[in-house]
């Protein structure tokens, strides 16, 4: 089966909430609202759903089926692991549709940070014999761990904090027009450098926003999608996987030198471009997973938008400011909303439908990446 054979036919989302403010809704109530909205957007019925795809340990499909009254599932799968698989749900959904296992797959992603904050997730490692080996160093969150990567990138390639600032300022410039963005106010270089350092070389602005929301995407065959309500957005390519030399990412930290100072996306980038025959210069919109600003720079390198080690100079040249290479024109997770990569998929769809708020003229191809995190990493190219 050659791709694209599957397409995104519907998108649904709850409002975006600051961390904790989605209460008293439960995460399953938010998921239900997102699924209903996505099905309605596609012009389908809840009863049409026969497949579900999740990532990062996922959700209980049974609970969603029961609450929404979905009659029968013939496919329910989760991209393995905790980390970089967000774009991989599109790979699973496309596989289900291509193989005939399901006709209408909803891809679901959601987060709700009540009590436990994701940024302190390493602290839970205290309970494991392996995890405690890092915890005794004072390390307690992925941002701190990825600060080690950013620090080494600066040392190896001369990358400057001005480059991280560029990523944040570009994100904020886009967010200014986004009604739902959590951080909308434009940011100056002076304000960036005045911010408190959280994990040197990262300051507060280098960390993504902490938010609650649920999003859902309806995937069906490209052929069927053409007869539905919305302009179909084809899944041109989607991959998940990764190499042992990236492994558990910031939980391991023993990558070979060149991989250590990367986003770990080399393997999935190569596979995705190989599968589709698309090159970086073909991409109109790049939705790069931006939980921490330096990782945008490292992904620009891994996905071939600039050479290895030149990401800092690339963004400092103004290359990703509005009007340049369109990177996260929704404001991304740094400024708009963090829903473990799901808002990137939504923005890709809106750009390709031509309905985005910060519309890139005549956008035809969008790259969506999963988080630089333990493998499987993931990425997808969507197109019209």
């Amino acid at each position: 089966m050659t791709r694209p054979s599957a397409a995104i036919a519907g998108v649904g989302s709850t409002p975006y909430y600051f961390r904790g403010e989605s209460a008293p809704q439960t995460i399953y109530e938010m998921i239900g609202k997102a699924v209903i909205a996505a099905i309605s957007d596609a012009g389908l019925e809840i009863a049409d759903i026969d497949g579900m795809a999740f990532y990062a340990t996922g959700f209980e499909a049974s609970q969603i089926v029961e609450q929404l009254g979905i009659p029968e599932l013939s496919f329910a799968a989760v991209v393995a692991g905790q980390g970089g698989g967000s774009a991989g749900i599109l790979d699973l959904a496309a596989m289900a549709v291509e193989t005939g296992r399901a006709k209408t797959v909803v891809c679901i992603g959601a987060c709700q940070q009540l009590g436990r904050r994701y940024g302190q997730s390493l602290a839970s490692l205290a309970t494991t014999p392996e995890g405690v080996l890092s915890l005794t160093s004072g390390l307690s969150g992925p941002g701190q761990s990825l600060a080690l990567v950013a620090q080494r990138h600066m040392h190896t390639y001369g990358t400057r904090r001005e480059a991280f600032a560029e990523v944040v300022m570009a994100s904020r410039a886009y967010a200014a027009t986004r009604p739902e963005a959590i951080r909308k106010r434009p940011l100056t270089l002076e304000e960036y450098f005045a911010a408190p350092m959280l994990a040197d070389p990262l300051c507060r602005y280098d960390f993504c926003v902490e938010t609650d929301a649920a999003l859902a995407f309806v995937v069906t065959s490209a052929e069927r999608a053409r007869d539905l309500r919305q302009k179909p957005v084809n899944i041109v390519g989607a991959v998940h996987g990764g190499k042992r030399d990236w492994g558990r990412a910031f939980f391991w930290l023993n990558q070979p030198d060149e991989v250590f100072t990367s986003s770990g996306a080399g393997a999935v980038a190569e596979k995705l471009y190989g599968q589709t025959g698309i090159t970086p210069s073909d991409i109109d919109v790049a939705l790069l997973y931006d939980h921490f600003s330096p990782l945008v720079i490292l992904q620009l390198e891994d996905y071939g938008f600039c050479k290895r080690g030149e990401g800092g100079a690339f963004v400092e040249s103004g290359a990703i400011r509005p009007g340049g290479l369109a990177v996260n024109p929704h404001g991304g997770q740094l400024s708009e909303c963090y829903v473990i990569g799901m808002t990137h998929v939504r923005e890709a769809v809106e750009q390709l439908r031509g309905t985005a708020i910060n519309q890139v003229p005549d956008a035809r191809l969008a790259l969506v990446t999963g988080g630089p995190a333990p493998i499987p990493m993931s990425a997808a190219i969507l197109g019209v």
């Binding site: 205290a126 309970t127 494991t128 014999p129 392996e130 405690v132 080996l133 890092s134 915890l135 005794t136 160093s137 004072g138 390390l139 701190q144 600060a147 080690l148 990567v149 620090q151 080494r152 040392h155 408190p196 350092m197 959280l198 994990a199 040197d200 070389p201 990262l202 042992r244 391991w252 930290l253 023993n254 250590f260």
Partner: protein, 144 residues
Amino acid sequence: MTEITSAPDISRIEIPMDIWTTPFWQAAAEERLVLPCCGDCGTHRWPPGPFCPACRSQQVNWVPAGQAELYSYTILRPPGASPDEAAPLIVPGLVAFLEAGGLRIMAAIVGSPVGAVKIGAPLVLGWVPKGDTRVPVFSIDLGS
């Protein structure tokens, strides 16, 4: 005033062990830093675990870690600390062992002027008591 790096508060951390990490902590109790090395092919690995990733052997030799240098680091100020106060500076360091094929472990960089904390700096091993064992920490070797 030169700021000096501090050890993190590990009083609330418990150290669970399994059969693959116990030898590390047993040696640490005697202030010996040892790393797992495959008993068949000689490949170092971290963290300690049941297989050599190069040859799948389950034989392990625990070998002295040897000379250490700083591979990367971050600087943390504990939450709530005001920038005006002399807040403790916590520096989680990624420490590389040259004689162990560059193998890296995380350890706090303590008792060092923050300005001397640089990638590539040679390190001196130290220990912090913790329950029945000790936790390895490092300081910058200012004598070199």
